[in-house]
């Protein structure tokens, strides 16, 4: 299997996660809850794939998100690329196989991304406490879900890559 095919496999896995999450949000609307776990689609590729081509599945997922949301064009493409760069910067500073480190980094990256979207969509509401309190509630719930789910999702992606004959662990020792 070529490197591009492997990256497409990663994209398809994350696209399924993205659709599943959209479906979950659909059923959570009567309870006034909405989950934003964008870091979930970026963290594994950034921390475990030692190739700059790892950005390809991230940008494809960003395009998928742009089509699903009424954001200004390019908001997700730039936001996801920045989140990928942030995670890549931390790959040698954290213990990637430690579940808590992984989850905390994902939560931090996700919180920054939510802050970026909040400022982008503020439309003059920046000074309103109601705006920030509503985002804070969503951020709290999303962070809790993300913290619990990131290690599992990274394991799933890793085992999927092992099944197609690619061990991302082999390239980890190189800086």
């Amino acid at each position: 299997m070529t490197a591009l095919q492997r990256l497409i496999t990663l994209f398809l896995l994350n696209a399924v996660a993205c659709l599943t999450l959209g479906e979950l949000n659909h059923f959570l609307t009567p309870y006034g809850v909405n989950l934003h776990v964008d870091a979930l689609y970026v963290v594994f590729v950034a921390l475990f794939i030692h190739e700059t081509r790892g950005l390809i599945p991230v940008l494809l997922i960003a395009a998928l998100m742009e089509g699903r949301t009424p954001t200004p064009p390019g908001a997700y493409l730039i936001g996801y690329a920045a989140m990928w760069t942030l995670f890549v910067g931390f790959r040698m500073r954290i213990q990637r196989y430690h579940a808590d480190h992984l989850s905390l980094l994902a939560v931090a990256g996700n919180s920054l991304f939510i802050l970026y979207l909040s400022l982008l969509h503020s439309r003059g509401h920046v000074s309103l406490p109601a705006y920030w309190s509503s985002i804070f509630v969503e951020l709290l719930i999303s962070s809790a879900v993300l913290f619990l789910f990131v290690p599992f999702w990274c394991r799933v992606q890793k085992s999927a890559l092992l099944r197609i004959g690619w061990d991302p662990g082999q390239q980890l020792n190189t800086p």
Partner: protein, 277 residues
Amino acid sequence: MPRNLSYQSKAIIILIVVVIGWLLLPGFLKRWSQPVFATFNAPSAISISYLRDLQNYWELRSQSKGRLIESAIELARGNAALSLSHQRIDTLMRENRAWEEFFNLPPEPDYRFEVARVVQRDLNAWWQTLVIRKGTHHGIRPGQAVVFTGGVVGRVYSANHSTAVVELLSSPRFRSAAHFEGDRRPVEFTGRINHGLRPASGQVSTVPADITVSIERPLRLMSSRLGGIFPDGLVLGYVYHLDPTPDGLFQRGTVRLDPRLLELREVAVLVPLDPSP
């Protein structure tokens, strides 16, 4: 890219290239990108929606015959009542047309109801939207009104070939002319920032100072033709409390919206029969 650069430095350079590349991209390509991404998204969203329908079908198949017969009887009763009100509406419309001709008035705009299934609901602090399973192929265009049995849902924000995005009336970007039931004076309805874990609400402003409401006697807020989007008399919500504005000329208050807005499965788009050029 130089080989002696670290992986992290390469990542930063790539990010800068992505940002500059996007900024330098011509405006028409940026605007074009979103509908293209949405079109690529549509098959997956529609497939999931059909799967949901299939799930509902099998759920209904598991109901007992007795329950289905009961439902059929209820439906027959409902149909009989609707048939009677349909006849009454026909008579009223004929009468209305006769008066319009008599007074030489311009006719009221007429609509076709395009019923569509809700594919996806996405309600958060930034946007409150629904994706429906019909689009430009069915005559749906941005700006058209969307309704359900409880009144106004919102308006079409964008439309693709087979799907459309509907902005809910609870969305902070939503704004419309309205009036209270039994009072023709126009007021302004706007969506607002809705807190998570709470039912959706809107806001009414420029309410004349002589209008009074209370918890026991709330007022119904209706849509107005003045906005040019909605026909007159569709329910927007209920107002239980009004506060005077600092200048004392007007009042403003919170509009409680129908809680069913958060669990809509089917809506109708009002497609004008004689669209203005």
